[in-house]
């Protein structure tokens, strides 16, 4: 009989500007916390999947990231990997751990995100391949192209983008470890510096130093069999590998395929989701995912979020920590961790009463990658 994998441990460092901390130091702190949370010890770990943040090398010379980290941990695991799906990598790292455990390749697998992107020198305004010849720089410009089309096609307005940013800030006020605890109102949003129209600074996620880790294990290996762990009810990925010149590239992300298919695998719809942890690198990405997953119809995400529907106490519990926009840039691992907290009932002031079904998404690279998890308590 195939083994079943569950999520059993979570841990993360502080997020923000952490001067003097190395990325290895942060990753190891998160790992120690997650392993302790699961009730395991170093010797129990037989799998390691890493998600190096945007300022970390996936491979340094010939040394892949899992090896650079693994050397420090002094472990000889049975399964390793480093995810390269950009912002979808935290979700896909958990997926890879589940698949490895259920296929019998390992039993107790660590999934680790870490970065020192904020204190590292340099910037994220990298050129976008050959198109840098036309001044195409950074992720903001790319997502601005999608936002501009969404506005032209559906009448989405700056006030709709503002709802997403304002909700994230309001949520972060209830998150003790949040990096950005400063409320934002509409005037503040509209006064935020325009970067690439229609996206302002306030439409962008944070850049952070920090690390976050999750332990996935075979259900028969739980340290405390009385504590059942969090079930992974469904997983999915969808990607768009064609160029941005493709006709519909800016009209929908691969979430439009990934979302409905993943929810259908466990026989639920968006209406059944108690808490949604959607990857929120830019406000427009949240709006597009609300449509893709079926929380609202195509083109209606702007009106959907209006009136505080995704703000604290609103009808839809979306990113209760403040997410990438205000909690901190944790790749997507902080989204997985909050889903686990909500399903355990340990989210404190942010707890969604009776949360039983959580959705976690990841979105990455040039709107090329998408991954989803449906988790249940």
């Amino acid at each position: 009989m195939p083994r079943k994998a569950v999520i059993t441990g979570i841990g993360h460092t502080a997020f923000g500007r952490l001067e003097g901390r190395s990325v290895r130091d942060l990753e190891i702190e998160a790992i120690r916390l997650a392993v302790a949370d699961a009730g395991f010890e170093r010797a129990d770990i037989d799998g390691l999947i890493t998600d190096p943040g945007p300022a970390q090398p996936v491979i340094d010379g010939i040394e892949p990231h899992y090896l650079a980290l693994g050397r420090q941990l002094g472990i000889d695991p049975d399964f390793v990997g480093t995810e390269v799906l950009g912002g979808a990598s935290s979700v896909s790292s958990v997926q890879r751990a589940v698949m490895a455990i259920e296929a019998g390749l390992c039993s107790v697998c660590l999934c680790v995100y870490g970065d020192t992107a904020l204190s590292a020198s340099g910037s994220f305004s990298y050129g976008r391949g050959a198109e840098a010849a036309f001044g195409f720089f950074g992720a903001t410009g790319l997502h601005a192209l999608a936002a501009q089309r969404h506005m032209a096609r559906y009448g989405t307005r700056p006030e709709h983008l503002a709802e997403v940013a304002m909700a994230a800030r309001a949520h972060a006020m209830q998150t003790p470890h949040a990096q950005l605890k400063r409320p934002l109102d509409l005037d503040g949003y509209l006064a935020s510096r325009m970067l690439a129209e229609p996206l302002r600074r306030a439409d962008c996620c944070l850049i952070s130093d920090g690390a976050a880790a999750v332990v996935v294990c075979a259900a028969d290996r739980l340290a405390d069999l009385a504590t059942p762990g969090i079930n992974v009810l469904a997983m999915g990925q969808a990607h768009s590998l064609s160029t941005i010149a493709n006709a519909d590239h800016f009209d929908q992300t691969p979430a439009a395929r990934c979302g409905p298919a993943t929810l259908a695998r466990v026989g639920v719809t968006a209406a059944d989701v108690d808490v949604a942890l959607l990857y929120d690198c830019f406000t427009i990405v949240v709006l597009m995912q609300l449509e893709a997953y079926g929380f609202c119809r195509l083109g209606e995400s702007g009106p959907f979020v209006t009136g505080g529907r995704i703000a604290p106490g609103g009808e839809l519990a979306l990113n209760p920590t403040g997410g990438l926009m205000a909690e901190g840039y944790g790749g997507g691992m902080l989204h997985v961790i909050e889903a686990v907290r909500q399903l355990r009932g340990t989210a404190g002031a942010r707890q969604v009463a009776g949360a039983r079904l959580a959705l976690v998404s990841g979105h990455g690279l040039g709107m090329n990658t998408h991954a989803s998890l449906v988790l249940g308590g």
């Binding site: 950074g138 501009q148 970067l195 129209e197």
Partner: protein, 144 residues
Amino acid sequence: MNDTARPDTKILADPFPDARRQGRLLAAECRACGHLFLPFGPVCPRCWSIDIGQRQMSGAGEVATFTIYRQSYHPDFPAPYVLALIALAEGPRLISNVIGCAPEQVHIGMAVSVRFVPRGDQVLPLFVPVTSPARNPEIQGDTP
């Protein structure tokens, strides 16, 4: 990440720089299925034929989407400037700039045509509004 990793602003691996210097905009054409596509590649993304030729485009197109960069990320690109996805009349799309009008005049669906502009040691296909003098009398030149 560090400051020495300044973006390369050359068009990478463009097989036909001479065509651009001659003022011709080329797209890849699949000789098996007729699909026209950009950027150039060794295989047709629609049918996987490797029998790929080239076809000259008219240079007419429209703005499929765009952004006005208000923040400058590179000394060669002072803000504001318009980055746009251009849908050519024949079908292929490409990222380029719209010049020759105020950035605020650019809109999705705007008719544009190609204008080859030297930039450094390259010649780039940029796009200018197709103006109707009666409708847009203020647009005369092709300078940004």
